[in-house]
Symmetry: C2
Subunit: 214 residues, 2 copies
């Protein structure tokens, strides 16, 4: 592996995987079971992520139990009922039609937590949030690796962290980062659904780019 040089064809394949990755919701998951070896591989991909001071501060709860899933759905429904009120008129009408989670439809759910180290971590003294960011790097690895295994993943963020912690009996010092739904899919959309529905436009990278200073 040391000093492995990748070629253009290999770069293009990574580009294809990144471009084909989608946030998958309940209306596109198939009920086909996902073998544990697949879940294990996706979690391994998480462990290949960078982490501040090599702290590897991630923890995962793999959830298949329908009753536990239902408690998370109930929490989603409570938060979502309020969330839609942020949007006015046309946007609220479209919001109401959107399927925004796939908790029961996806055969596998994974709740991801950040467990801060009890000892000082190299690189984390002035930017504590880099611990959480390490966990997010792991999540992006999972998302890409799942896609390369033709598994869809969706990130559900319309949840109240304290409720998810309570449902999963999480220790006080673990912090809820993400709730992921995984499964085979009926289809991967060609574009992000929110782009397709014109909820938001894609921003050209130039509009977010500065040189040497803002």
């Amino acid at each position: 592996m040391k000093n492995r040089q990748f070629n253009l064809t290999e770069q293009q394949l990574l580009e294809e995987i990144m471009l084909a990755r989608r946030d998958v919701r309940g209306n596109r998951f198939s009920s086909d079971p996902v073998d544990h070896s697949i879940v294990k591989k996706i979690l391994e991909a998480a462990s290949w992520a960078p982490s501040v001071g090599f702290s590897q501060p991630w923890e995962f709860v793999v959830i298949k139990d329908k009753h536990i899933k239902q408690k998370v759905v109930d929490s989603f429904n409570r938060v979502n009922a309020e969330a839609k009120n942020q949007f006015s008129n046309d946007k609220q009408a479209l919001y109401t039609k959107l399927k925004l989670e796939g908790i029961q439809e996806a055969p596998v759910n994974i709740a991801v937590f950040y467990r801060p180290s009890k000892l000082p971590v190299l690189g984390q003294s002035s930017m504590l949030e880099t611990g959480r960011y390490s966990v997010v790097c792991a999540i992006q690895n999972m998302w890409l690796f799942a896609r390369a295994m033709n598994i869809g993943m969706g990130w559900v963020s319309i949840l109240e962290p304290s409720e998810v912690k309570s449902i999963l009996n999480a220790p006080d010092d673990s912090e809820f980062i993400a709730y992921l739904c995984l499964g085979y899919v009926k289809e991967f959309l060609e574009k992000p659904e929110l782009e397709q529905l014109k909820w938001e436009k894609r921003k050209p990278i130039q509009s977010s780019l500065y040189f040497d200073s803002y």
Copy 2:
């Protein structure tokens, strides 16, 4: 691209890229210039990341100016002088020997910011931090894509965010997330340096894994 099915060889290539990705510091960057087309491609890979409500809340400052870089190095040196005091005895001795940034050595630096939307964002009502997490997903895409182009990247977190914002003239409402150093490398280490030096051990994924509940 729609419904593209990837095969085992393609999954294995992604695994290879993920496993070959390293956090690169100053002692391993070569001074070979990095063409702007390469930097642009890495920023495009950032834009392929998922973002909450398709908000794409990332901003990038590409830095090549040596004087600006030096101000960031000065900030690093101030924070690092304090950071080493967290570690006692043997660890502090090892810490002092570590090269922990490559700001001047890397031909390209990229400061990454989170610019919160002024309008409500779908999916961000109960978990505000998902805006920052979207930016981190973009950073992990950059890291992997850089590696596939045989470019090393290092994330410098031993910095005071307010100082970096001031150096780069960042607007009040933009939040500093990461300072990245990019360039060709003399070598990619076979293992993370902190693992190789036994600063931290690699954790088996089983030690971070729970089923249905903690």
